[in-house]
Assembly symmetry: C2
Homo-oligomer: 556 residues x 2
């Protein structure tokens, strides 16, 4: 049972905007095939590497096929706003292609495909979920399709369900695996076509024709709304420093985008920390200096944005975590036999290298405990569980105490920790994400109509009005890179980290000193669905700045 309030009811009738090229019969146009590329990757994907990108055109020719499609769909990994609209777009498109087409939703992620567990998605169900957040229409899951056995089971299910196509809605890993499954299926002579859709709030699945992943826009707007409210509180109460950790497993795109939307006093970008090889101490010194500077100006308040993945990007912390992972794997039994936490901490301290041990001993107790207690099923430290915001508060507090004793800080420091993540992953999509996801789903259906496999749906020109967007597909194998995983080289889609020469980072870097010293907060406000276009349809700054830089570049 799902109950809707007035907003949800009003919003359910929103008609996502489709690009003009998808409003006709949308015949396909194939780009010229590039014969260059990576020989190693080509060797791994002989069936699906030498394919060309395709785009759809809006004129009214006869479509490629008019037989019914039967498409399976999977939601994979962490939820992102707009997932339901991908499925709605897919549904509307296949019904338009042939009224006898059907969509079968696999339950709880790839696991549903392996076990052939799913439900038929009919018009009533689809209508109930239009423009809503969440992945609850069929649930999501983190099972990975990796082994040949997984692929065999997947094809068996596809065959049992008579699927003509499968849409995998997921992040870099899920799309990498979709690519491998497509390659495997084609090599086996299976008729099923497999198409991916770029999803992740983290914003790190982009490049090579993918302009942004869906959900990033909405999640950043939700977080920015909260950061704005907190900053208004900071400047009203004038006595708190807010340390705000933001979700985003590795890359700092979310923190960077939120910084541009809200202009906080301090934003830490993990990629810069890594590139400049900053120590924890140097990060803390930088924060403390800004706090002291502002206090001297009578502003004993402020905001600090911290990307969730930071810890692993601090080289000395990254080393410590690697050493802990290896050490606990090697001595797990002896470690687990110890009864008290201080004993456990002493046990690992004694086995760490000297610099790692020194760092570990200097960490606040609760963080030192989290590092050895919160481990995932593989025994690794769960970095996302570390309260980095509290770690930084503790260390900054200690540093300010020293500065106070030395006379370089005269003021008080009242810190408050926050962590935003689950508040944004399942928000109802912004107009942008509602339109973008619907178009992605629609595009995926057209790719499957064309019997294309091993492609990812790609929608471009995203800073232009939706009517002018372009839509097509990119061969997934062409997005692959070889990376070392668990000791061997495997083909994966590379996570797009924040580039320190990107226009987004430079915009931030050019302004951050001003934002640190004076309080020029932007109070972003909540996502609006019904207002003026400049309020409701604005895309993320990251996208705007990247497009502006590309346009400038193409002019020169």
């Amino acid at each position: 049972m799902i109950n809707k309030n007035a907003l949800a009811t009003a919003r359910s009738s929103y008609k996502p905007k489709l690009p003009g090229v998808l409003c006709g019969n949308s015949p396909i146009r194939t780009s010229s095939l590039k014969q260059d590329g990576d020989t190693e990757i080509r060797a791994l994907f002989p069936m699906t590497y030498d394919m060309a990108p395709v785009t759809f055109e809006g004129d009214a020719q006869t479509p490629g096929t008019s037989s019914p499609l039967r498409i399976g769909v999977i939601l994979s990994g962490g939820p992102a706003p707009g997932g339901h609209n991908v499925i709605a777009g897919l549904f509307d498109a296949i019904k338009q292609i042939h009224s006898g087409s059907t969509v079968f939703g696999f339950l709880n992620g790839p696991d549903g495909l392996l076990k052939n567990k799913g439900i038929e998605l009919d018009a009533t169900t689809i209508d109930r979920f239009r423009n809503t957040g969440g992945f609850d229409i069929i649930g999501s899951g983190r099972t990975k399709l990796e082994s040949e056995e997984d692929f065999q089971k997947s094809l068996a299910t596809a065959s049992a369900q008579n699927l003509t196509g499968l849409v995998v809605i997921g992040g870099d890993d899920s799309n990498s695996n979709a690519s491998k499954l497509a390659e495997y299926a084609k090599a086996q002579g299976a008729s099923i076509c497999i198409v991916g859709v770029p999803k992740t709030i983290d914003g790190d699945l982009k490049g090579g024709g993918i302009e942004t992943s869906f959900g990033f826009d909405t999640a950043c707007k939700v977080y920015s709304s909260l950061i704005g409210n907190i900053q208004r509180d900071a400047i009203s109460a004038r006595k708190y420093w807010h340390f705000i950790k933001l979700m985003g497993r590795s890359a700092s795109h979310i923190a960077l985008e939120c910084a541009l939307q809200t202009q906080p006093n301090i934003t830490i970008i993990s990629e810069e920390v890594s590139s400049r090889k900053l120590t924890l101490r140097e990060i803390v010194d930088g924060i403390a200096d800004t706090i002291a500077y502002r206090a001297a100006n009578g502003e004993q308040f402020g905001s600090v944005l911290i990307p969730e993945g930071l810890i692993e990007f601090v080289p000395e912390m990254g080393n410590l975590i690697s050493e802990l992972n290896e050490l606990l794997a090697a001595h797990g039994e002896a470690f687990n036999g110890l009864s008290s936490l201080p004993q456990k901490r002493e046990f690992v301290s004694a086995k760490l290298s000297s610099p790692a041990a020194a760092l570990y001993r200097n960490l606040p107790d609760d963080i030192a405990n989290q590092l050895i207690l919160d481990r995932d099923p593989h025994g690794n430290v769960q970095v996302a569980r570390i309260d980095t915001q509290r770690l930084l508060i503790d260390l900054v507090e200690a540093q300010l105490k020293e500065m106070k004793a030395a006379g370089t800080f005269k003021g008080s420091f009242s810190p408050l920790p926050h962590y935003f993540g689950y508040e944004g992953r399942c928000a109802a999509p912004s107009n942008f994400d509602a339109d973008y996801t619907y178009t992605l789903g629609f595009t995926a259906a057209l790719l499957l109509r064309e019997r294309l496999t091993g492609y990812i749906a790609a929608v471009g020109g995203l800073t232009r009005p939706a009517s002018e967007w372009v839509a097509g597909g990119i061969p997934l194998a062409r997005m692959m890179n070889l990376e070392r995983r668990h000791g061997k080289m495997v083909p994966v889609i590379k996570k797009a980290l924040v580039e320190l020469d990107s226009p987004t980072f430079l915009e931030f870097a050019n302004n951050r000193d001003t934002w640190a010293k004076s309080s020029c907060y932007i109070f972003a406000g909540p996502i609006q669905y019904f207002g003026p276009s400049e309020v409701c349809d604005q895309t993320a700054y990251t996208l705007q700045l990247e497009h502006a830089a590309q346009a400038a570049h193409s002019l020169t």
Copy 2:
């Protein structure tokens, strides 16, 4: 420097709706004076007790005065959405009364009045803050005006500033003190008139003609939006139990209103815990049983709302905290001399009564530490700092472990803690709060035009369209009760706690079993400013249900 994005710019031109009765010259109508009342309170307020409520009428007679007003204004205590619009309404009204009227804003709360620190608020400044959240136009503060010395200083400032009136925007305490200052001023023959405005997100300043305090509506909508997003995440990821603590110092109005807006699985209401004399163990058992029930149905996820003030309402915890406060006051030096936390915990345990010591020893370490470390300047435990959400998680986890061993819980439990407070106090006001606060400020000005003192601005009929609202004033002294504070009886406005026979609580109580067992979450969505009226102008359920019950009652 304040920067506005497109939403803030669009929103700044919103024209708050005024009731029809305030659109004309609004002559005043005085109700008949009640001669009954509390003799003790009357004795304490001889100058301002025997005054009658007043209302304004909309016909076009000559207003009471047309000489310029000079009004001081104070923002007191924690911020609440709409404070800036109170000042905007005040400003527009006094300019309408006489174009030579002026508003002087005291900086950082009552402290600015004591020290005569403030700024002239001109039209440019006011325009910059229309419809925005926060109290940053002049800042707020928690200084209390309590002593005769405070009152003398206040009158000296009023005289130095040539104030004809003073508006105190605050909660129960600030309005109690405004009442005392008004009484004092009148007794001294000072000409200044003092008027209060009911502010607090907690929703506990109501009754006696005040239907709700401003800010409650917006704050509850912000929290409900976040709770809705988290619940959508819960039902999508299907593996987390979210424990969400909500701001609200004492009363549970916020938790109750958010429960009605979002239909979470479990909501704890402090007043019920107190009334039923529940132990921590009983609360934990209740939560664990629901978790086990849902797990048995394949739903290993859920949501729990926890009011911030809960701890003090659990009788045994309230006792423990009182004992700790007394003990630490008596033995502070010996306690502070101890170096380690375990020593400190042992020290207090040995001095607590036997039941309190047993409870204290069973608390998780971090909570036991918080109880003795985080104390306010008076040496009292800072209840708001206690991570009740983490305390409950720890205790529920332990209980589920026992149930698992006993075979009564078969499932896994992944809890996540959240705390929402600062996210809502300074949000831009909802349409309701924008209109309500503007009308309150406008009303305060008219009361001061009439040279009324010791009144609180009162706007009623709030579930009807704003055009039909009534507006007037209620004598503050009539809202007083005698309460024991620091060992003596003092007159204060009584905090309105959640009544267990109120229509709001009954609505919740009638539905909570269903909400606990099945997942019938409402995903509230963000506050909308531009959409259909049923989306943008809906008032809080608390207000709707109270008005419906009153209407039903008046029919019988």
